[in-house]
C-alpha cells in the first residue's frame, strides 16, 4: 500500500481546483450524486437539497449550524430514514429506497453521532462483526465450525492490523463498554473499515472527544483517504474542517447554501450569516460587551423600583 506513495491529497485538490464554488457544482469524477432530496416532518421541511455531488477520493466536509438537517440528510442517503422524494446514485447505481444494510453492502458505510460501539461485545467481536460475506453468518453453516473457522482467522488477522493502527490492540478482549468515549469513536471507525467501504460517512467524528485525541482522529481520517477511500464527514466546528478537508459543503435550514474549498467557504458571507444568524452585527469587543451589561442592569433596577 505505502510503496507508491501517491499523494492522494494533491490529486484530489487538483481535481477540485477547476470546480466552481457554488452549490450543486458538478465534480469531475463524482462517487455520489444527489438530486432534489426532500424530507418533511409534519409541516416542517427538514431537508431540501436540489443537487450535490461528492468527488471520489476527496475528504469532503458537510458543515452547518445545529439543526441544519445534516444528520437527517445523512440518514436519507444511508437508508436509515425514508425520504419523501428525491434520487441519489452511488457509483452510478440508484440508491433511493434501498434498505440500510444494502447501502452498507454497496460500500457506503456510516458511523453515528452517538457512537454505537456495542458495549456488551468485546472489542475483537465488534471488529469481526464488521467483516462482510462471512460464511459463518449463515445459520446452517454456523453449525459446522470448520466451514467458517478459516475465514474467521483471516478476519481476526485483519482486525488485529486495524486495531494496531488505531492503538486499540491492548483492549482486544475487553468489553467495548469499558472503553473511553474517544476510544469508542476509534473502534467505530475501525469497525467501519472492516466492511471495506469505498465511501466512509462519519457523523461528527470529533464530537465529545478530548482535544489530545482530535489530532490522532484527524490523522486516521487522512489515512482513510490514503487508502483510496472517499470520506464525507459532518462537523460543525469550522476550524477542525479547515486543515483536513479538500472540499466543504455548507447546509442551513435543510438546503445546501454554499460549496467550495475550505478557505473560500470561511470567507463567504452567506456561510457566516448562516452560522451566526442573519441579523448579527460584528462580533462584540469586550468594551462593547461591558457597556451592554451595564445597560441591562440599569433597566433591571428601574423595573424593581417600579414594582416596589
Amino acid at each position: 500500500m505505502h510503496a507508491e506513495t501517491v499523494n492522494r491529497k494533491a490529486e484530489a485538490l487538483a481535481a477540485l481546483a477547476s470546480v466552481p464554488s457554488e452549490p450543486g457544482a458538478p465534480k469531475p469524477d463524482p462517487i455520489l450524486v444527489v438530486d432534489n432530496v426532500v424530507r418533511r416532518f409534519g409541516g416542517l421541511t427538514a431537508v431540501e437539497v436540489e443537487h450535490v455531488e461528492v468527488q471520489r477520493g476527496s475528504i469532503t466536509a458537510l458543515i452547518g449550524p445545529n439543526g441544519a438537517g445534516k444528520t437527517t440528510f445523512f440518514n436519507q442517503l444511508t437508508g436509515f430514514d425514508t425520504a419523501d422524494s428525491g434520487t441519489w446514485t452511488f457509483n452510478g447505481k440508484p440508491m433511493n429506497g434501498v434498505s440500510a444494510h444494502q447501502v452498507a453492502r454497496q460500500g457506503m458505510v456510516r458511523t453515528f453521532q452517538l457512537t454505537k460501539a456495542l458495549s456488551k461485545l468485546t472489542v475483537m467481536e465488534n471488529m469481526r462483526l464488521g467483516a462482510q460475506k462471512q460464511r459463518g453468518e449463515n445459520f446452517f453453516r454456523a453449525l459446522v465450525a470448520s466451514l467458517w473457522q478459516p475465514q474467521e482467522d483471516e478476519i481476526t488477522i485483519r482486525a488485529e492490523e486495524l486495531l494496531e493502527r488505531f492503538k486499540l490492540a491492548a483492549k482486544r478482549d475487553d468489553f467495548a463498554g469499558s472503553l473511553s468515549g474517544g476510544q469508542r469513536k476509534l473502534l467505530e471507525m475501525a469497525r467501519a473499515l472492516m466492511v471495506g467501504p469505498e465511501l466512509v460517512m462519519l457523523d461528527e467524528p470529533m464530537a465529545g472527544v478530548n482535544p489530545a485525541l482530535t489530532q490522532s482522529l484527524l490523522g486516521h481520517v487522512k489515512d482513510l483517504r490514503e487508502q483510496g477511500m472517499t470520506v464525507l464527514f459532518v462537523e460543525h466546528d469550522m476550524d477542525m474542517v479547515r486543515d483536513i478537508s479538500d472540499w466543504v459543503i455548507v447546509m442551513a435550514q435543510g438546503a445546501v447554501i454554499a460549496e467550495g474549498p475550505p478557505d473560500t467557504i470561511m470567507a463567504d458571507a452567506r456561510v457566516i450569516d448562516a452560522y451566526l444568524g442573519a441579523h448579527h452585527d460584528a462580533p462584540l469587543t469586550t468594551a462593547e460587551a461591558e457597556e451592554q451589561l451595564h445597560q441591562a442592569e440599569a433597566e433591571l433596577e428601574a423595573e424593581i423600583e417600579e414594582k416596589a
Binding site: K116, L121, A142, L143
Partner: protein
C-alpha cells in the same frame, strides 16, 4: 409430615416431564429473549402449534406419527413467519402485546366450537400417542434409582426429552459461538449499528424467531405425548410466564441457563407444593384448604419472577455485565 415423600416428589419433579418440557420451552425462549432481545410473550403459541400439529395429524386424520412431527415443526415455522412479519420492526412493548395476542388466537382457535371436529374443542384430542409409546425401549414395569422411580412410559418420555434438551443445548452452543450468534448478540444491543455494517437485521431476527419457535414446538410435542392428550387451556399465558421465570432463574443468554433454571424451578416449586399439601393433610397448617395450595404456588412464581428481576436479573449462571435486559 412425610418428609421423604416431599423430597422424592421434588427430585422427581426436578428431572421429570415438567422440567424437560419447560426446559425446552425456555431454551427456545432464550434464543428469542436471551440472545436476540425479542420480547416474545407468545411462546405458549409455539408449544400449542407443535402439540396440535402432531395430535391433529394422528388423531383426527389418522396419518402416521412421524408425519405428525413434521407437520408440527412446519406449523411452528409458519407460525413464526406469520408472527414475525408484522412484529419484528416494532418496539419491544408492541412485540410483547402482539405475541401474547397471537398465542391467545391459537388457543382460542384450537378450543373453538366451530373447529371441534378437527381440534376436539375444549376437551382437546386424545389417542395419538400409541405409536410414540410403541417405540418405548423400556419393558413395562417401574425403574427406580433409590427411592426415585418412574414407570416405563415416563422413562421413555424423559429419555427422549433429555436427549432433545442435550441436542438443543449443543446446537445453541455451536450456533451462538459462531458469527451467526455474534450478529444476534449485536442485534440485541443495537439494531442500527448492525444495519450500518451491512447485515439484514430483519432476516436474522426472523431466523432467531423460527429457531426458538421450533425448539418450542419440540416442547409442545413432549407436552402432548407425556399426557397422551392435548387440551387447549394448557397453552395459556401462564405457560409462557412460567417459561420466562425458568429462563431468568437459570440465566438468560447462557446455553445451560434454561436447563438449570427448569430443574431448580420445578424442584423448588414441587418441594413447596407437596410440603404444603402434606402440612395441610396432617393438620400442621390448618388455615388453608388443600385446593388453595395450587393458588399459593402460582403466587410464589409471580413473586419469584418479580424478585429475580429486581435483585438478580442475570439469574444463576448469567453475568451481570452481559445481561442487558433492555433490549431495544
Amino acid at each position: 409430615m412425610d418428609w421423604t415423600l416431599i423430597f422424592i416428589r421434588a427430585v422427581e419433579a426436578g428431572i421429570g416431564t415438567e422440567a424437560v418440557i419447560y426446559g425446552l420451552a425456555a431454551i427456545g425462549l432464550n434464543i428469542h429473549f436471551g440472545y436476540t432481545g425479542l420480547l416474545n410473550f407468545g411462546q405458549a403459541g409455539f408449544l400449542a402449534v407443535g402439540a396440535y400439529g402432531v395430535a391433529t395429524t394422528v388423531a383426527t386424520f389418522g396419518l402416521p406419527f412421524w408425519l405428525g412431527i413434521a407437520v408440527g415443526l412446519a406449523a411452528a415455522v409458519l407460525f413464526a413467519l406469520l408472527l414475525g412479519i408484522p412484529t419484528l420492526r416494532l418496539r419491544a412493548d408492541y412485540l410483547a402485546i402482539v405475541t401474547i395476542a397471537a398465542a391467545e388466537i391459537v388457543r382460542l382457535v384450537v378450543r373453538s366450537v366451530a373447529l371441534q371436529d378437527t381440534f376436539g374443542g375444549t376437551d382437546g384430542l386424545e389417542a395419538f400417542s400409541d405409536d410414540f409409546y410403541g417405540m418405548n425401549i423400556y419393558a413395562p414395569g417401574s425403574y427406580d434409582i433409590g427411592p426415585i422411580g418412574f414407570d416405563h412410559r415416563t422413562m421413555w418420555v424423559l429419555t427422549v426429552g433429555w436427549v432433545l434438551v442435550a441436542i438443543a443445548c449443543t446446537v445453541v452452543y455451536l450456533v451462538m459461538k459462531s458469527p451467526w450468534g455474534r450478529v444476534l448478540k449485536a442485534i440485541r444491543e443495537d439494531e442500527d449499528a448492525v444495519r450500518s455494517l451491512g447485515k439484514n437485521v430483519f432476516s436474522y431476527k426472523m431466523q432467531a424467531l423460527v429457531f426458538g419457535g421450533v425448539i418450542g414446538a419440540l416442547a409442545g410435542f413432549l407436552f402432548a405425548l407425556s399426557r397422551a392428550a392435548t387440551q387447549p387451556d394448557l397453552f395459556s399465558t401462564e405457560l409462557t410466564f412460567f417459561a420466562y421465570t425458568v429462563l431468568i432463574l437459570g440465566g438468560a443468554a447462557r446455553v445451560l441457563g434454561p436447563v438449570l433454571g427448569a430443574v431448580v424451578f420445578w424442584c423448588l416449586l414441587i418441594l413447596v407444593k407437596t410440603g404444603m399439601e402434606e402440612a395441610v393433610n396432617h393438620q400442621v397448617i390448618t388455615f388453608i384448604t388443600v385446593n388453595q395450595v395450587g393458588s399459593i404456588n402460582y403466587m410464589l412464581v409471580g413473586l419469584g419472577l418479580i424478585l429475580l428481576l429486581i435483585y438478580r436479573p442475570q439469574g444463576i449462571l448469567g453475568d451481570k455485565r452481559e445481561i442487558a435486559l433492555d433490549a431495544r
